[in-house]
Symmetry: C2
Subunit: 294 residues, 2 copies
Amino acid sequence: MDRAIDALLERWRSFVDDALARHLQSTGDRDGVRPPARLLDAMAHSLLAPGKRVRPLVVLAAAHAVLKDEELALERAQPAALALELVHTYSLIHDDLPALDDDELRRGRPTVHVAFDEATAILAGDALLTDAFALLAAAGASAVRELALAAGSAGMVGGQLDDLAAEGSSPGVEQLARIHAKKTGRLFEAATVLGGLCAGANGDTLAQLRTLGRHLGLAFQIADDLLDVTAGAAADKGTGRDARHDKATWVKVLGAEGARARAHLEADAALALARAQDAGALAALCRRAVARTH
Amino acid sequence: MDRAIDALLERWRSFVDDALARHLQSTGDRDGVRPPARLLDAMAHSLLAPGKRVRPLVVLAAAHAVLKDEELALERAQPAALALELVHTYSLIHDDLPALDDDELRRGRPTVHVAFDEATAILAGDALLTDAFALLAAAGASAVRELALAAGSAGMVGGQLDDLAAEGSSPGVEQLARIHAKKTGRLFEAATVLGGLCAGANGDTLAQLRTLGRHLGLAFQIADDLLDVTAGAAADKGTGRDARHDKATWVKVLGAEGARARAHLEADAALALARAQDAGALAALCRRAVARTH
């Protein structure tokens, strides 16, 4: 069973990779006007770098949880899955800019402002964010509103500003949870809800998917904080990216053991909801979120 | 007649100003989560600075051209009108950044990265762009797709990159028309089309509104290039913003007389279409676009 689900998720990951490449190859206006080559190159540099594609997989898994049909789920949820990855990628490009986190490496490659220049990085981020909504329009106005609220001033962007403001400070658990709910959690929540919307879900099913996404996002963020510490240590630098920026993290606030426990609590809450919907792929993604924190 | 239309447009401008202020006061997530105060302040700094609100007025005038009913036009087209101004404002904030045009003044105020800081300016732009789509969802998926295509990689953002790349060069008239069609024209085209969509227009009417918007956008851009030269001269600096950046402009390519003639040709083409639809407010906006270039 687990191996069948692993194969399924790997198939979906390839599907997302291929669809992202095709999307960039066909991006254009209604009159066939193509984006400038340099802009496309910068977008591709970041978007097509090898990645786990967690957020698009969550979209597809949520659609599959409702439809219980792989082909139909991929077909209906593809635009939303791609849109989520475009928005996630834009947020990384802008986060890495000198004025924000000033990072030079991302996914093993030079960041966009290093490989190209700062102006191109700003515009490539802007383009990915905007193009995401052109894609997502195919999923309908409710899906657009869901993603825009999740990613906008009261969601992800607001969380990024809070996160910058919290550097060097020691927030409490509740404040940290609020920052991360906006910075990471809302996009996971949008991922499960968008998958559900594309599959025609509503009412209780959609509400459960939302709650599942919220727990999954938090589990994922805490695990990410833990891995950042480990990765920093493994790279023999003593610290990872978060410590270098003195970010407010779960490890800083709860300690490694406390953070690990909280991550598993959140993942278990998400897992219970996935099981209640007999959603094998979603359940596997919930387990994976904390798999490397044992 | 002209005075009645002037009064109408002034009423609509106030309506847009009030609606923008109300929008910022009520921006939030579905759970009532508000954006961080500093982010809202930065968004307001730019969005609520006194402006002509040309793009929202074009949206409202296009809706009015179809509906011929002021109250109904304002009600139906309001979300699209506000969304256009949010997208326009985001583009100004990002354009003014040190990595792009590095401008310190805008609409008579310090630019956002000067009044706040660069990180806040980047995030405020991101927030305005994203929030625009949350607003626009109320106008339906076709409207979302229209604006996203106009503002995205093959539209405005692509035009901004082309414009930066053309600094210091001498493009021909056709290349300049292509750059400005993307950088400015597509957003005017989206403005007329969105107004039409909100009013329930389709087919030929929508196609005519699109063509009108294209001509109007070009007229507006050329007039803007002309005014930039005049403003620069008036400010006793000899040059305006464009010349300071050695931008490719219509004045540079066609000379002041040639640019003026071209602006009037474009405005006349737009005006003829407005008159064919008996659209008084749209016609007035076409005349205004070139009024100060005589």
